[in-house]
């Protein structure tokens, strides 16, 4: 077992797990039952998506996907925040 091989398999597995996590969260988005469940699901989808991006960066080893991950980490909450606020207040900006 060489290092690249271990990385390839290990990280591939990790990525698959994360995508699976995404899929489960997406299931929550689809199923609900309440709007808050969906928002929570979407937030989780975003989170796992970000982790997937990071692991993908590891797999390719070029680190170019860092910005994409950072965008989710720093700004991704804006979307879910807007949703949550919409639930709470009926409008996003008052």
């Amino acid at each position: 077992m060489s290092a690249p091989l271990i990385l390839a398999y290990g990280l591939g597995l990790a990525q698959a797990m994360l995508v699976l996590a995404m899929a489960l969260a997406a299931w929550r988005v689809l199923r609900g039952p309440r709007a808050q469940d969906r928002v929570l699901g979407l937030d989780t989808v975003y989170l796992n998506g970000m982790l997937t991006i990071m692991v993908h960066g590891l797999r390719t080893g070029d680190g170019l996907s860092f910005e994409a991950a950072l965008v989710i980490a720093l700004l991704g909450f804006a979307a879910t925040l807007a949703l949550a606020k919409f639930l709470m207040q009926g409008e996003v900006i008052q």
Binding site: R59, T60, G61, D62, L64
Partner: protein, 122 residues
Amino acid sequence: MELVLSLGIGVLAASGVWLLLRPRTFQAILGLSLLTYAVNLFIFAMGRLKVGAAPVLASGTDAAGIADPVPQALVLTALVISFALTALFLVVLLAARGVTGSDHVDGQEPGRREQGLGKSGR
């Protein structure tokens, strides 16, 4: 990968088209978004798929092996434009909803068409 992506494009496009053909404005705008995703991916796919070969030249990368940058540039341009137009479409449908009082894409419910083509019911 090609198979998966093309199936994905197909599903996105089909959902988008389906929604665009629905009577509610909100359905139309979501349909437009989905169709836009599909088209952007389609453009992107035209450059063929490569994993781990972003068109960023680090020292020593093999210029021949990296992904085709042109479709990516095209998608970026198209992305911006479609973002702008989605926003516009949204506002126009809000305005239409404001002046017609209906969120039907034709500005009136189909059953109430006889009341006159030019004027809204209000």
